[in-house]
């Protein structure tokens, strides 16, 4: 029982991170109808920016003094940097291809992804060494329920994700910019005729998505402080799983991304915890990736539009 509850706790915590990243994928897909492959790398850079800011401020090693204001400062700076990065990516790489075939945009996105990873691991930037994220949040255990420790970090991850998602939901469904986003998603051409500044709206979408990814990157780094080098396949896999969360929930659908994120978190964490005991050791926790991809293929075959998505049909 304790294992079950502990796994559930981890699943919710990791799942909300996936949901945060998935939101960026889903928003861009909703507006521009393409998979922003580079989004997972923005998430990675969010984690590395957090590390960089923390060390620059001297909050690592001897100057380390875990506190919530410091954590918030680091997260805000990482979000600002990634927001700027998201803007630049859209402006320089994707905007020239706004009306190009989707395959070309997809290839460009792969190019951007490779560019971010490999620039990140230049020795002048973050290097190819693994780093340890300094502790920014006190490792306090807030409560122990049925043998499960509820830590401050987990609470902050879940609460932070919920707050950010709430803000995004308000932004998209209750603000002028959100209305413009939904209009562009529906039909960019008509939206522009109605006086919506399409370029600005698309930029805003990228900035918002990248900031969420940066927040997820920061929270991830605080929970799992071992940072792999920027081009390590772990990052790509994390980004990919977040993307799968978006697809499973119904791509282009913001609430779907949240549902999908939680679902992926559950499958992955329970896969890790229960694979080996249930299969007498034949299947190891390594197979969690396979469960996630199996879920993706299953959803795509049964309901290609995702759990909450709607299907679009090509007009003949």
């Amino acid at each position: 029982m304790t294992t079950f509850l502990q796994t559930l706790m981890d699943a919710i915590s990791v799942g909300s991170l996936y949901a945060l990243i998935a939101l960026g994928y889903t928003m861009v897909y909703g507006v521009l109808r393409f998979i922003n492959f580079a989004h997972g790398d923005v998430f990675m850079l969010g984690a590395w920016f957090s590390f960089w800011v923390t060390t620059k401020f001297g909050w690592a090693g001897e100057g380390a003094h875990p506190s919530i204001p410091r954590a918030l400062t680091v997260m805000a700076i990482a979000m600002a940097l990634c927001g700027l990065l998201g803007y630049l990516i859209e402006r320089l790489a994707y905007r020239p291809l706004r009306f190009a075939p989707r395959l070309n945009v997809l290839i460009t996105a792969i190019g951007v992804s490779l560019l971010l990873q490999n620039t990140g691991q230049l020795k002048y930037v973050f290097g190819t060494e693994n780093q340890r994220m300094p502790t920014l949040l006190p490792a306090t255990t807030l409560a122990t329920v049925a043998g499960v420790n509820i830590t401050l970090i987990d609470v902050i991850i879940v609460a932070g994700s919920l707050v950010l998602m709430g803000v995004l939901d308000r932004l998209v469904y209750r603000s002028r910019m959100g209305m413009a986003m939904r209009a562009v998603a529906f039909d960019p051409h008509t939206a522009s005729l109605m006086g919506v500044n399409v370029n600005r709206t698309v930029s805003a979408t990228f900035v918002a998505g990248s900031m969420l990814a940066a927040a997820a990157g920061f929270l991830y780094a605080t929970k799992y402080p071992n940072l792999n080098q920027p081009a390590f396949s772990t990052w790509t896999l994390l980004g990919l799983k977040a993307f799968i969360a978006a697809v499973v929930g119904g791509i282009g659908n913001i609430r779907g991304a949240m549902v999908g994120g939680l679902l992926i978190g559950l499958i992955e964490q329970f896969g890790v915890a229960y694979s080996a005991p249930l299969s007498h050791g034949y299947i190891t926790g390594e197979f969690k990736e396979i469960y996630v991809f199996a879920l993706l293929i299953l959803v795509l075959l049964v309901k290609p539009s995702g759990i909450l998505g709607r299907l679009t049909v090509e007009k003949v």
Binding site: F34, I35, A93, P96, L97, A100, P101, R102, L103, N104, V105, L106, I107, T108, I110, G111, V112, S113, L114, L115, Q117, N118, T119, Q121, L122, K123, A231, S233, T236, L237, L240, F243, I244, V247, T284, E286, F287, E289, I290, F293, L296, I297, L300, L301, P304, E314, V316
Partner: protein, 391 residues
């Protein structure tokens, strides 16, 4: 009925009737069909005997790398270029072929010859064959091509399985499924156990050995068989197959699927069958390339190396050469194999340069250098061929 259609003969004869009339004699067709194969094998023999003498060992290895990359790029082109799908898991098929062929060569050698060493003759020799004192032809020379074909077939089976979702999925989604496939292959291989040494194999049933291909440490100890001869025979076969497919009615149906699925279906092209078929063909050749890669000199077969990055390498070759162009893929494979060797001193910038190249390419010349055309379709060559008559 008064207004029944006129019963005049059709203005043109039916295709079926004409086919019989235009079919050339068997021996003519055989000579024309076999000629490129003969030339390809002859070139491969030439390289096998002289590459080492002319270029030296290091450059011969680069030539072999080039050959393997040509096979990969040309085969991926069948999926990404011809049918316009987007597979980013090509290295996954390569890994499947590599491990299948490796398994057969390693454990098969033990079963056939009693040890896991090299048992080839001149054709499989990777050093200067003049210095060779063994037999001219040996059992390994048969086992290796069999292993390559087996690797290709198993990869093709996986190609069929991966191609099936293309019945339902388009574009980006399919890309993700192929990427996922590549990762699953890698993860599964990495959960296997260590390779058994020669004295541990005896008495084990073969299915227990399936789990003994090295896991995260790599499949070490594979005999070196990927000589210039085998590599270039495979290159010739791949390029010839890709060209003949493209130049046939079936190949044009692939291109039609890429250009406009709805129109292709309205003309009777079974779209899904063609898409799956493209996956199967491409996966077969990727599997063969994997088999060669596994037995290449100086390589250690490791699933970790056959991940996304390898797939991206191949994609870049296809995109650069031109989606759908065989000669473009060949040229791009050559250039992108030599370039990193030449730029070894600044190798950390290699992937950055590739990435920038991809982005700039997509913005400036999205169809790649040659688009779907071949080199001999370029205006320069065309003018020379027709004596300057074309406008």
């Amino acid at each position: 009925m008064a207004d029944s259609p006129t019963t005049t003969a059709r203005p043109i004869a039916s295709i079926r009737a004409r086919t019989l009339q235009l079919t050339p004699p068997r021996w003519v067709a055989f000579c024309r069909g076999a000629a490129p194969i003969v030339i390809g094998v002859a070139l491969a023999v030439l390289l096998q005997f002289y590459a080492n003498r002319w270029f030296g060992g290091y450059r011969e290895k680069i030539l072999i790398d080039i050959g393997i990359n040509i096979i990969l790029a040309v085969s991926l082109n069948i999926v990404n270029g011809y049918t316009g799908q987007f597979s980013i898991g090509h290295a996954g098929f390569m890994a499947v072929g590599a491990y299948t062929a490796g398994f057969i060569m390693y454990y098969g050698s033990f079963w056939l010859f009693g040890d896991t060493q090299f048992h080839g003759g001149i054709l499989s020799a990777t050093t200067d064959p003049r210095g060779l004192h063994g037999p001219g032809f040996s059992g390994g020379d048969l086992l290796f091509p069999a292993a390559l074909i087996a690797g290709g077939l198993v990869a093709a089976l996986f190609g069929f399985i991966v191609g099936l979702p293309s019945l339902r999925l388009r574009g980006d989604y399919l890309a993700i499924v192929t990427l996922g496939f590549g990762e699953i292959v890698r993860v599964v291989i990495e959960t296997t156990g260590t390779v058994l040494a020669g004295d541990e194999i005896g008495g084990q049933p073969w299915y227990r050995l399936l789990n003994r291909v090295g896991g995260p440490m790599g499949f070490g100890g594979l005999p070196i068989y990927a000589s210039s001869f085998w590599v270039w025979v495979c290159v010739a076969a791949t390029v010839l197959a890709a060209y003949r497919i493209k130049a046939s009615t079936m190949g044009r149906a692939f291109l039609a699927v890429r250009e406009n699925e709805i129109a292709a279906a309205s003309l009777g092209v079974p779209i899904t069958r063609y898409k799956v078929r493209a996956f199967v063909i491409a996966a077969f050749f990727a599997g063969v390339a994997g088999g060669l890669f596994a037995h290449e000199i100086g390589n250690m077969l490791n699933a970790g190396e056959l991940g996304f990055l390898k797939s991206f390498d191949i994609i870049i070759m296809v995109v650069l050469g031109g989606m759908g162009s065989i000669s473009g893929a060949v040229v791009a494979a050559i250039v992108l194999t030599i370039l990193p060797e030449a730029l070894r001193s600044v190798s950390e910038f290699r992937m950055i340069a590739y990435a920038l190249l991809l982005i700039v390419m997509m913005i400036a010349r999205p169809q790649g250098l040659l688009g779907i055309h071949e080199m001999w379709d370029l205006p320069y060559f065309r003018r020379r061929r027709t004596g300057g008559k074309t406008a």
